[in-house]
Amino acid sequence: MFFFKLFIWFNLRQVQHHRWRALAVVLGIALGAAVFTGVRISVHASLGAFTRSMDAITGRADLVVTQPGGRVPEDLVARLRRLPGVTDVSPVMTTYTRPAEGGRPFLLVGIDPLLDRHLRDWNRVDPGDEEADWERLVAEPFTLLAGETLAAQAGWTTDARVVLSHRQGDTPFTVAGRITMDGLGKAANGRMAVCDIATFQEFTGTSGYVDRIDIRLADPGTDPGPELTRLMGNGLRLGSPGALKQSGQGMIRAYQVNLSFLSFTSLFVGMFLVYSLVALNAASRRHELAILRAVGASARSVYWLFIGEGALYGLAGWLVALPLGSFLVRYLLEGISSTISTLFVRVHVDRLALAPWEILISLGLTVAVAMLAAVQPAREAAGVPPREVMTTTRHQQGGRSDIRRLALGGLGCILLVLPLAHLPGVNGVPLPGYLASLLLFTGFALLAPWMLQQVGRRLQPLTARRAGGPAHLAAGYVRDSLARLAIAVGALITAVALFTALVVMVRSFRHTVEIWVAQTISGDLFVTTRMAETNRVWEPLPPEVVAYLAQHNEVALVPNRRFSLSHDGHPYQLEAMDFAAFQEFGHFFWLQGDDELIPRLIRGEGVLISEVFAHRNGMAAGDLFRTQLQGRTLTWKVLGVVRDYRTHGGVVFCSLDDLAARMDGLAWGGVRIFFRDRDRELDAAVARLRDDLVLRFGDRLDMMRGQALRAAVLRIFDETFAITTVLLIIALLVAALGIATILTMRVLERARELNTIYALGGSRGQIRRMILWEALYIVTVGEFLGLLCGFGLSYLLVFVINRQSFGWTFLYGVDWAALALSLPLIVATALLAALPAMRLAVKTSPAALLREFGN
């Protein structure tokens, strides 16, 4: 226990004495920890919301019957109920719908209240006769029970009349009651409603079919038996109800790991700060350490004193991070949950759950990182020989061979980056990519001392002639104290690299997606059945709509039909399209193959797959693609690979005619409309057609102008990348803080030398210029290495990390103008960061400094 006493006496008091330095470091760590914690908690909240919602819908089902790309015939329910060992059978339907008057979509669940009794529970908000509610749902058509959140948000009360919108047109419902946030009521976080399955079918035009059938077994452990399996003909699939949940959770967790790594960057930069302060303390207190050792402290306790100091900064940083993080989380939560909704699975989050485990993880990580940063200085401190107590001069360390060894190590790290980056990711987590990035940073930081040495050596004769004394002295100092300086450069390298990589990535990504949007999402008006996009279920367009459009001779139509399917557990879309019509107005963004393939695609000789699909499933041109659709097995050859940035997984494009032939007829699910005359007033023409369609079929269709759709797609992408950008910018902030702190510490560290120069007749101006020159050296070298490191990092981001986490890559493009504009800005900032140091150097009186640093 005496160790803690010693820690307080020896370390804590020093920290107290120089509390501003400590505060800067703690703030840096706190920012990093806050971002990390905020991100983790936000994703955790999304994961929790998703899981609760899925569990609420799944209820107590043991098995579930589905039909990939289609629906399950309702008559199966009766046959399943007759099977021995099956205790409950309940058909379930779900869809998103919305009030016709507008507002956000909500989840409508259709069940048979009687059959469903043992599978899912719900409670009324107003206590009353539960049986009566069920009976009303069944007996009275078009009644619903509204979830608590939905009722509150939409202002629905019992017996209110509400009009809901779906593909059959707007339909009036009566609110029969409200249910609490329990059981089924927790689905979609309470933004839900329940109705009788017959009402549901009538509302959505799906009579005779249900989305799925839930089964409860008498003994869940046993094999369901051959009778059950025999009933599964015609492409029906019997699965566990958890599969959907698990695949969704898997995606959210992978995203969490991705964001954790990104936010870890800030903590990583914070490590430089901890290192620099602990190293400064260890170096400037070298003589005190010798005294400690001389009076009987062991090397090991000295080592732990400094590790303890690192831990202290980590702990303090984490404590500051808690309020900071809870403030941050409010901003992150919405961004992150909406990104998860656009990219992976729909989540409804409106509250934060306390996540003790996440908070513990962040505590552990922050303290561990800070302790790790203190290891090297602590080792140096423990190595101070007690005999130094007899001497008064201080010792410089960091010999030549050390620097060369470090540089070689750095080079080794950098050489390892490429092979490491090409290892495959694990479950959507680009672990090798992130490790490669860390290696890259480390490698360049290790190279820094050697670079400084080279620059110092080359510059010294030159600066001696040109710039005179201060520059000359500065170059000498740079050379003599490389080990310590390297840290400042390391922080700068990290900052510049982050910035460069960010500029490159944003530019590459934006540029590529813009091309894709312009080429592939061409069209003047997009028409689908109502709520199709929201539900990701594209039902046939009403025949009269198709007939009306077909006789319209000013427009060309590019019809399609899309199905949400999954391949080896990865969700994707099968899009059947009219290649011939598309070819006139749009282009694919080819990765493998070119426009020459179009005739073969039209003939149905094969399909195109998107980059994401290719990567997720390890497929390429020449492979065979096989899928189950509505009970049929379809097989095609993969002819080419195209870039595609649509969310929720990859795409397979096949010919609409070909698929129609294979499926014995296939209705259009959506259509893109192009005006043939491209020179006319397009906006007005599109508006007129749209108004016309609204008048005729309005409540059954969703329409979107091409321009609006393209803008919306780009907006979604910007939002998705906003999180990434914010995380990197915070890391940049921490790095800037680091540079200022480290330069200031450099001055403090050499206060004695500076004052000796002053005492020997150097003017304040000369000292000031010397520090400026030193900053210039650091900034030049840091900028140069940072730029190199940044290009390396941008390569990793664009081609490795994005590919492994999302499955897509971008056209690599550097925004030279933005770089050229902002790099001088970074130089200026770094020099500005030297200002406090310069002021400090000439402000403190030599006598005071001698006292502070004296024995």
């Binding site: 005496f2 006493k5 010693l6 006496w9 020896f10 008091r13 020093q14 004495h17 003589h287 005190e288 005294i291 400690l292 050792r293 001389a294 009076v295 009987g296 402290a297 062991s298 090397a299 306790s301 020989p385 007690p386 005999r387 107590v389 007899m390 008064t392 006292r851 024995n855």
Partner: protein, 235 residues
């Protein structure tokens, strides 16, 4: 003092040599010194600057390692000790006093004094009691809570003496303890060391340029270029 009565040898050195490697050159700090000091002696070490006084003291104190030779202090062989044995040795066997005091600036007078005892595992209350007694004896009670920066040179050195004594080491080594003090303060420090030697039987070895300690010495050793030039009783 009767030499015959003191048969206990507290420092024994044979062929003790310390060579400092300095790049390609070597500097001889101590050159083949043979030495025997009995418990209870009051030794004054003299010699020109650079003659090896501090080198000899740091070897005996276990702060530094000899290049070759033999060295036994209080019956322990310093050349065969492990690092942790040396740490314990510094804590328990020797008390060091330096020209530049070497107090820890972040610790108060009392805490500085307690430190070696606490490092040796003595409970805080006991160590504080012992420290207070020593500070009392040295006339430092009023300064107990001050930091070294608030003390005069004499007070700092008295604090250092208290620290050297806290673990009751048999051997006190002082390297120019009066070098940074005026003659009045210097005399006071020397008198305290004499009291320790005469009244409590501590062995004291002082390296010094001044003659303040001469009246109390039982023995004078003169060093020159790292070797013993002369070794004699009190004149």
């Amino acid at each position: 003092m009767n030499h015959e009565a003191m048969t206990d040898t507290i420092i024994f050195a044979r062929d003790l040599t310390r060579i400092y490697p300095l790049g390609v050159n070597e500097v001889v700090g101590l050159n083949q010194v043979d030495l025997m000091i009995a418990a209870g002696e009051f030794v004054v070490l003299k010699g020109a600057s650079g003659s090896g006084k501090s080198t000899l003291l740091s070897l005996v104190a276990g702060l530094d390692a000899a290049t070759r030779g033999q060295l036994q202090v209080a019956g322990r062989d310093l050349l065969r000790m492990t690092e942790s044995q040396k740490t314990a040795f510094r804590r328990d066997v020797v008390g060091m006093i330096f020209q530049s005091f070497n107090l820890l600036p972040t610790l108060s007078v009392q805490e500085n004094v307690c430190l070696p005892a606490l490092l040796a595992g003595v409970p805080l209350a006991d160590a504080t009691r012992r420290a207070d007694r020593l500070l009392d004896w040295l006339g430092m009670s009023a300064r107990r809570g001050h930091r070294p920066a608030q003390l005069s040179g004499g007070e700092m050195q008295r604090t250092a003496i208290a620290r050297a004594l806290i673990s009751q080491p048999p051997l006190i080594l002082a390297d120019e303890p009066t070098g940074n003090l005026d003659s009045k303060n210097g005399d006071m420090v020397i008198e305290r060391l004499r009291d320790l030697n005469r009244e409590q039987g501590h062995t004291v070895v002082i390296a010094t340029h001044s003659d303040q300690a001469d009246p109390f010495a039982t023995r004078f050793i003169h060093l020159r270029d790292g070797a013993i030039q002369s070794d004699q009783g009190p004149c």
